[in-house]
Symmetry: C2
Subunit: 334 residues, 2 copies
Amino acid sequence: MKRQKAASIKDIAQKAGVSISTVSYALNGSAKLTDETTNKVLSAARELNYTPNAAARTLKKQESRILGAFLTAFDGDVFGEMLDGMKDVCYEKGYDLIVCSGKQSHRLLSERMIDGAIILDDSFDSGQLLEYAERAHKLVVLDRELEHPNIRQVLLDNKAGATLAVEHLVERGHRKIYIVTGPETSFDATQRMKGVHRVAERNPDVEWIEIPGDFMKSGGVRAAERILDEYNGPAAVFCLNDEMAVGFYNRMAKTELSIGKDIHLVGFDNIELAGYIQPRLTTIDYSKRKWGELAAEQLIGLLQGKAVEHERVYVRLEEAESVGRAENPRCCTN
Amino acid sequence: MKRQKAASIKDIAQKAGVSISTVSYALNGSAKLTDETTNKVLSAARELNYTPNAAARTLKKQESRILGAFLTAFDGDVFGEMLDGMKDVCYEKGYDLIVCSGKQSHRLLSERMIDGAIILDDSFDSGQLLEYAERAHKLVVLDRELEHPNIRQVLLDNKAGATLAVEHLVERGHRKIYIVTGPETSFDATQRMKGVHRVAERNPDVEWIEIPGDFMKSGGVRAAERILDEYNGPAAVFCLNDEMAVGFYNRMAKTELSIGKDIHLVGFDNIELAGYIQPRLTTIDYSKRKWGELAAEQLIGLLQGKAVEHERVYVRLEEAESVGRAENPRCCTN
DNA sequence: TTGTAAGCGTTATCAA
DNA sequence: TTGATAACGCTTACAA
């Protein structure tokens, strides 16, 4: 197969009988050229099927007009909407967006293939990120707190969310509350736990029990099994994310106990499934799209040297039937 | 803010007191250098925090070792797993993967920022893709049939899937079958309709009714409303994708009629939700991860000049409770 | 074993 | 208004 080399401005210059700098001017719509030469160049370019070479332009201009979003993994219910939000903002402001996942892809950041990055990926080391920032990389982090002039953070209000979640259980009269935690390395998980602890301290009469989880369905299943083992009356459970809550449901579905009655459950994230499992899951909701939009706006602001402050994504409680009142509320009279 | 320029091989050369070509050789682990010089260079590089510049290397080598996946949108239940499949294969073979969506991002392909692309995106024009292929771009298409030496296709066996779906309804004794179609521009939709028509021709005694759909929940809702309007006894419905089937459920949930009893439903794609709605959705299943893996393998094969054939992703019927037997089967004796 | 130099496709400065 | 030319950071023949 003949490897047809792509036409460059040199070829256009030759075909149009002008110099390469003239070609460059014409292609970039400079005003200082005659309409005649401009047209001559443009039509030569069209005939040759010319497309600019991104690598060359990036090398010369030291910018690619590409932003990168780095994710832990591609699957997961949260990312889709978030990325669409980022994309819309990027395109509107004249940037392209590429999405990457996995350690290998980190090179796209360090090798300066992209002008800036949005990080939602445990596999980045915070020290590493600070070094990047030190080398003038522009970053927006969504999964950690990091202070540096070249870094902005757009964080979920995890603490508020977790507080809402467990307060809801307490208000409903529950006095035995299990917390199914997340990975220790997860920023979201540790922040959510802070919210839990805050409420726990204020409610010492409630029995608080932590079960280690992993943010995956399997963690929810294991937690359900442990709780079934020691079940001796109504209990409430806060799974630190919906994924585990779904695992919990799956396991409970095989038992006599019913969620919203014998066991009360709250999740976090409001993934699509939360509205479809039966009974519907009470959970903490936030706009994934908005999160993505904010992240992209922050990054572009940073690139344009605007003084932008860290942002926060607000959350709310989405009430559904997975939580009912405690059968023998010791707190309430009604 | 001081814009600290990144260290280049030139800086390393100076620091180590060697020429830039020596630096290049050392960094690329060439065997022809003394261990001593190699080490000298490497430690200078480390001290300067050197990272190669991707644009420069790409420009020089005329390859980036990056592959691109182009999607219609980032959300949607099918993509996550598929992308993880692609990623694994790419990384294993020494390529990076970037994911793009939207017309603007097409430039990453045309401007040769990536070595090849996997296309699952209506917004690419087939003629355009053929032109790219003609200019030596390597492509794998997942959403159309396209013949060119530089193009491979990895297609779902849509026709077989649709055939399985409607045959299942016919076998269960259904004699009034609605088909909720997809967008006319969708390859998957038109192929699935071919499967439907094949079965329809063989079963002229069945009443076949087409309702236009859009592959979105809203299309399923509208279809449900029309069917409710004219409901006068058991009917079966094949939604050409699960997304519409879920919309259909949502609408039906507000009525007296129950799915799997009064109305029987089959979808296509086996998205995660299909296993959680009640009753669980009978649908056409296939491995999204495998699809992604095959696509990446095909693309890398193409890049390495291997003679690879088009691939096909096989499908199977996932039976669940959304389809029951027709109440008065005219066909079966048992 | 190491250095020199050309070139990848652009942009941009300076002359003409 | 246009044209030479250097430079961006790297690889790689070829020379030393």
